[in-house]
Symmetry: C2
């Protein structure tokens, strides 16, 4: 199948980088196995997690991928990972040669939009505890597999806050 | 043209609601003129702005629109507005009858994804002042037309913080 022929398989060790900030993000990556995180590092050296991706999710620094400019995000494997990667040129061709792929991606992006809106509203309206409860309800599988301090970094709250919430349970 | 025939024109007075939370969001609305805001109200009566939309932007409570469940967001005109609305059934038909519309929407949603990711990263990594500066750089036109306390509500910071930042300029 044409679609499969343009995918490139890649294995990553735990802690290996799929992308380093400063390089151009040349691939959209579909996760077959494992968990990755995309994150930025601010001028004080603090990490901020833009997204996690686990089995059946896509991950990239989308702005870098679309524009060909250097990525602002690192993407790192949190477990041993297997991903399928597609290059920008091949993806652009795919959108033209298999128009249904636009529909497929449009629906994925709609769901991502809803999810991002919920995350934004939670971050501006909920307490740290409410945000943590929302997260573990929505992403129960992630909570089992990702260290607490990284969930804190995703939510923009301190790891101490999460420890305190978990002790109360 | 088929596309135009399924659009419904609607005018709104300033402060008029396009959607009230609790009702199902039956339309995607394309803004021809004016500015609207989508927002939630929390249990303490505080408002949190999910998004603004001005000329050439689309606005809806997307989750409600897609699932037919009651909206959690209000959408209110901040100025006199003109919008073009499309119903869910007609939009679904459009995606099938004019497949290019998937491509068009896929690209819009890609840009929205990037924009939402930037907003999320700003909210978890930047100070209130940095977030405000980022906002007015990115949305200069909005800053002129939207009251400061609503920008504060969009950013999840206090109006006092914005006043303090503006005085320092």
């Amino acid at each position: 199948m044409y679609f499969l022929s343009i995918l490139r398989h890649r294995s990553l060790r735990k802690r290996q980088f799929l992308l380093q900030a400063g390089d151009v993000c040349q691939y959209e990556s579909f996760v077959i196995k494992g968990i990755l995180r995309a994150y930025t590092v601010d001028k004080n050296g603090e990490e901020h997690i833009a997204m996690f991706a686990m089995e059946d999710w896509w991950i990239s620094d989308l702005y870098s991928f679309l524009t060909g400019t250097p990525a602002t995000q690192h993407i790192e494997a949190l477990e041993e990972c297997e991903v399928l990667q597609i290059e920008k040129n091949d993806l652009d061709k795919l959108y033209i040669e298999i128009p249904k792929f636009n529909r497929f991606m449009r629906i994925l992006l709609q769901n991502a939009f809803v999810s991002n809106q919920q995350r934004i509203l939670a971050s501006i309206s909920q307490t740290a505890e409410e945000q943590y409860q929302t997260f573990i309800k929505k992403f129960a599988a992630l909570e089992q597999r990702v260290p607490q301090h990284q969930i804190a970094s995703y939510l923009g709250i301190t790891p101490e806050t999460i420890s305190r919430i978990r002790k109360k349970k």
